[in-house]
């Protein structure tokens, strides 16, 4: 029994480390000098000295801070609007009896099954006709629709006890006050989950930003990274490794703080809770 436990723990550590290794190499490469890298490109740890040269070089050659800013502009506006719209829609679906409730819920479930693939071409045609290609609006607007957020929030709101609402109603609160003073504060964990998923989805979206804009100065971080080529930067390998770390490491670290929301969101998606 004891031996079996040790074996299991060894296996757990092995799997965890296998997942960590692909990340060690770009981190190590970004911290080593270009000469040291070409002497031995395979080091997983920067054992032969650390330099910040690659970071200075990358920031001066690649407009990564502009892409970061664009990503924040796009993802924050999308997150704020989606969370608001989806909460407003989830509230009557979960807490009110009204004509068409089941029908609207069905439409939202149907929306979950429509892949972005089938919307890509007509959406491009649409924003092209509106003259929104190469604008922030063109990148942002089509991301406002999120049936998944409504689905998730509706399920969350259903779990809030009815008594909370009733005591507020007896005190004379109208439905608007109940929604924002009673239900909203009690659904913060659900709203946080939706906000995190929306933010990550928008931040990591590659296809839509490269379709909606051809202007590299409007690119989000995710889109911008794919536009760097060996033609426009010297020391391509070290600059790319460094760019991927500048772009990826902050999110990777933030993951350890927001892990529980990611876990609960994915469990909800699978219909488990």
């Amino acid at each position: 029994m004891r031996n079996k436990n040790i074996l299991l723990i060894a296996l757990i550590v092995f799997i965890g480390l296998v997942w960590l290794v692909p990340l060690l190499w770009p981190i190590s490469t970004s911290l080593r000098s270009v000469a040291a890298f070409y002497r031995n490109p395979n080091l997983l740890l920067p054992l032969d000295g650390i330099t910040t040269f690659n970071y200075e070089n990358t920031i001066s050659r690649v407009p990564i801070e502009i892409w970061y800013l664009n990503s924040f502009i796009v993802s924050l506006s999308v997150t704020v609007v989606v969370t608001m719209i989806d909460f407003l829609a989830a509230y009557p679906l979960a807490r009110m009896k009204f004509f068409g409730n089941k029908f609207v819920y069905f439409i939202i479930i149907a929306g979950l099954m429509i892949p972005f693939t089938v919307l890509l071409v007509p959406l491009y045609d649409f924003i092209n006709k509106l003259g929104l290609v190469n604008t922030y609006w063109g990148i942002i607007l089509p991301q406002f629709v999120s049936p998944f957020g409504v689905f998730l929030l509706r399920n969350y709101l259903l779990s809030i006890p009815k008594e909370l609402e009733e005591s507020a109603r007896i005190d004379g609160a109208n439905s608007f006050k109940i929604a924002f003073n009673v239900i909203f504060p009690n659904s913060i964990p659900g709203i946080t989950t939706v906000a995190i998923f929306t933010f990550l989805g928008s931040w990591n979206n590659l296809l839509w930003p490269i379709v909606a804009t051809q202007n590299p100065m409007l690119y989000t971080l995710t889109a911008g990274l794919t536009s760097i080529t060996s033609v426009n930067v010297p020391n391509y390998v070290t600059i790319m490794a460094t760019s991927s770390i500048i772009a990826g490491l902050p999110l990777y670290l933030i993951f350890f703080i927001i892990q529980k929301y990611i876990v609960s969101g994915l469990s909800l998606q699978s219909g488990l809770k």
Binding site: L88, T117, V118, T222
Partner: protein
């Protein structure tokens, strides 16, 4: 008479308030989901060139797409990728979830390493895995494992496996999370009873764990299929569709025709969508039919 009428008015007001809350969502849903869906199907029957407007084209876009050997190869590529990922990822995540299904800080940290790549963008994934196999230790490692020298990115029989491996590293965590949540929802009494009956671990897994996880396995397979069919970012950033078009996908094909021939691109996306629906339904059908055997 009077109280009934006021109740009716109150009811009407109540309905209107509910629809008022829903209205912002309905507006964006109609504008950015329903309208494009209908418009996309309409566009697929039209031919649009830069100079002329939209001309009705019948099924010619569909015929054009379906007779294009490049598109056919893209379809084969995506089917290969989908079958491989559905089988490997479902199996592997089931095993990993079982291994990680225990308490303790060490397990928690190691599990976090497996899940964490989920939050990275596909560009970051693409850069890391491309560099690992152009300038890093990737090729040496694979050559060492299989015992002969390979340049994975230039090798038509290996390139898709690099995409499969990178995607595994990136997304396996989401399946693991779903299965872990499923495992933790199985009452421990079941396992205690099995232990009393002297069932082995393997037997317990096949007789208790697997049947109880069946609904989740279906969910994971369907989600995995839908995600796999929309493969774009990984080949776009790692291989660019090469070598010899062996990692190109239908979505890359659609992207390629987007600005030059919008009707053609629409027809290709409708075909891809119908294929996704068909494969998901077949999977659902096959898995639910096998119910008795489990």
């Amino acid at each position: 008479m009077f109280p009934v009428k006021s109740k009716k008015i109150a009811n009407l007001k109540h309905n209107m308030v509910a629809w008022l809350y829903l209205s912002p969502f309905i507006v964006v849903y109609a504008t950015f989901m329903v309208y494009p869906l209908v418009r996309g199907i309409q566009l697929s029957f039209f031919h649009k060139t830069f100079f002329s407007g939209y001309n009705f084209a019948g099924f010619s876009n569909y015929i054009g797409v379906l007779t294009d050997p490049v598109f056919i190869q893209d379809i084969f590529n995506i089917l290969y990728f989908t079958v491989a990922t559905v089988l490997i990822y479902t199996f592997l995540s089931l095993i990993i979830a079982n291994i990680f299904n225990r308490k303790g800080i060490l397990t928690y940290i190691m599990r976090s390493f497996v899940i964490a790549p989920l939050v990275l963008s596909v560009s970051v994934i693409g850069i890391i895995w491309q560099l690992l196999f152009t300038s890093g230790p990737g090729n040496n490692l694979i050559s060492f494992i299989i015992g002969k020298n390979v340049q994975v990115l230039n090798n038509p029989s290996f390139a898709m496996w690099l995409i499969i491996m990178a995607t595994l590293w990136w997304t396996l965590g989401s399946n693991v999370i779903i299965f872990l949540a499923g495992l933790q929802s199985i009452p421990s009494e079941y396992y205690e009873a099995a232990k009393l009956d002297g069932a082995s671990d393997v037997r317990t897994f096949f007789s208790i764990t697997l049947p109880l996880l069946r609904p989740l396995i279906i969910v994971v397979i369907i989600l995995q299929t839908i995600a796999s069919f929309q493969l774009f970012g990984q080949p776009y950033t790692i291989t660019g569709g090469g070598p010899f078009n062996t990692t190109a996908t239908p979505l890359m094909y659609i992207y390629g025709y987007l600005t030059t021939n919008i009707g053609f691109a629409s027809a290709a996306s409708v075909i891809l969508f119908l294929m996704m629906l068909a494969v998901s339904f077949i999977e659902l059908f096959v898995i639910s039919r096998r119910k008795e055997e489990w």
